[in-house]
């Protein structure tokens, strides 16, 4: 490789590239959505969630816990409970499946397959976040005492859910340790359960005072950023190979 590489492309490489393009024609780049649909179609739901039964069972337990806490909590702590519970299902199920995947060299093996484990994980994240969003919206609606409170609690719960999901998927993208996900989950829960313990009623008052437009905005921004992170996982383009 000559020094010209730094400045541009060597003439013979350029000629070869032009000849290749003329032979093949220009290929339309595949979008993340098309890629996701292809993976879903070719792998099938069964293989996307292969060997995730334990995490799914555990997540069932989490849903029960969410129902008990959200519906059983006194009205004075409803906002606190919504924020603390909304991410539970998502974070536990994703941390569980990802830790099991990363615990063995199977993770590396699956990274060398046509559909890499990180691409499959992107589809799992989409599925888990959709289910978690529906559960959060349902529970927040059921725990609310009136329509006005539904409009407060649902965006608040969704903001907490998508905020957590975004932080967790970012952690997933940039770490390889199986413990990274567990540490994330424990820290997240400690912060959001610890805050009301530390600040008491002031914390609940703070959450209750949040503007619906603000919480809706946070939920939408975090959801969009989450989709962007999933798209990055689906594409997994690596460009940091530096020529000699």
């Amino acid at each position: 490789m000559s020094e010209n590489w730094q400045l541009g492309v060597e003439p013979e490489v350029k000629d070869r590239a032009i000849a290749h393009i003329l032979d093949e024609g220009l290929v339309h780049p595949v979008s993340a959505w098309e890629r996701a649909r292809t993976i879903q179609r070719e792998l099938g739901t069964k293989n996307i969630f292969f060997d995730t039964a334990w995490s799914l069972i555990f997540s069932g337990v989490m849903v029960v816990a969410m129902i008990v806490i959200t519906l059983g909590v006194p009205a004075a702590w409803r906002h606190t409970a919504t924020v603390a519970c909304a991410p539970l299902l998502f974070t536990v199920i994703l941390a569980g499946t990802e830790m099991l995947e990363r615990a063995t060299a199977m993770y590396d093996l699956k990274q060398t397959a046509h559909f890499t484990i990180r691409q499959v994980t992107a589809l799992r994240v989409m599925a888990y976040s959709l289910v978690a969003a529906v559960v959060t919206a349902l529970l927040a609606s059921l725990s609310a005492t009136g329509a006005a409170e539904v409009l407060t609690l649902v965006p608040l719960g969704l903001a907490a859910l998508f905020g957590c999901a975004l932080a967790e998927v970012s952690t997933l993208r940039f770490t390889r340790s199986p413990w990274a996900m567990a540490v994330f989950t424990v820290v997240w829960m400690a912060v959001w359960i610890g805050a009301p313990v530390r600040f008491g009623e002031a914390w609940e008052a703070c959450l209750a005072s949040l503007n619906t437009a603000l919480t809706s905005g946070i939920a939408i921004i975090c959801a969009v950023a989450l989709v962007w992170q999933c798209a990055a996982l689906l594409k997994e383009s690596r460009t940091h190979v530096i020529p000699a």
């Binding site: 070719e42 060299a105 093996l109 060398t112 397959a113 559909f115 499959v120 190979v241 000699a244």
Partner: protein
Amino acid sequence: MLSLHNVTKNYGTFEALRNVTLDFTPGVYALLAPNGAGKTTLIKMLATLIFPTRGEILWNGDDIVALGAAYRDILGYLPQDFGYYKNHSPRQFLLYLAAIKAVGRETAKRRVGELLETVGLADVADKKMRAFSGGMVQRVGIAQALLNEPQLLILDEPTAGLDPKERVRFRNLISTLSKDRIVILSTHIVSDIETVANHVIMVQDRHIIANAAPAQIVSLLEGRVWETDDMAVAGKSGLVLTERQENGATITRFVSDSTAPQMVSAPGRRVWPVAPNLEDVFLHTYRDEA
């Protein structure tokens, strides 16, 4: 053809491999190196699990990273201690891996059946892997690496846990496969290399120090390997390689640069030259390594 051009890999300030240049054509290549020499780093780069800090790895002239899924489609990889799903049968497990390797459903069913026969697991194809021995699990691993009929097969310690019969079966399989594809083996079992490898690549201190046929590698010690029943001679004359008991005497194998180490032996003791083997070269080359 697979080519590495001046590949260097750094982990922060630690340099794991430096300026590695290699060409692979169909055949069996054995990576021989002690732990920590950079062997796993090299294998992981070839499997696109990590990426060079500098340099490039090309498959038929195209960068393997840019090729993406197209490169992974021609790759078969068996990591060391690859892990498996205890609650699934080998057939379920292989069908799952065939799916993520984008092998068509009908082709996958046929291929899984063939491979289970090949690795001698057809009679336990539908039994849960929970009760499998280490050797059986390893055979499942070998089968998965072959699912997509790879042109490049990378096997990290493939014979670990296999009994002698299974090992012979594996060597025969590798010999058959290597006729039209590149097989890269990383192993500590020197007898595997001597039997099947066309090329031995030795890695030491982040560099490739040898890349040649086993016979050429072994010839490096031609005329320098001796055995004796006088342990003192071995100690005086050179590097002790191995010891064994034979007819009540301790026979010591050693490398000596002296043309006649028998000159220093005690009266009544014997010193005789022997043909070197790959294990001698390994022990001699990596004598200072832990």
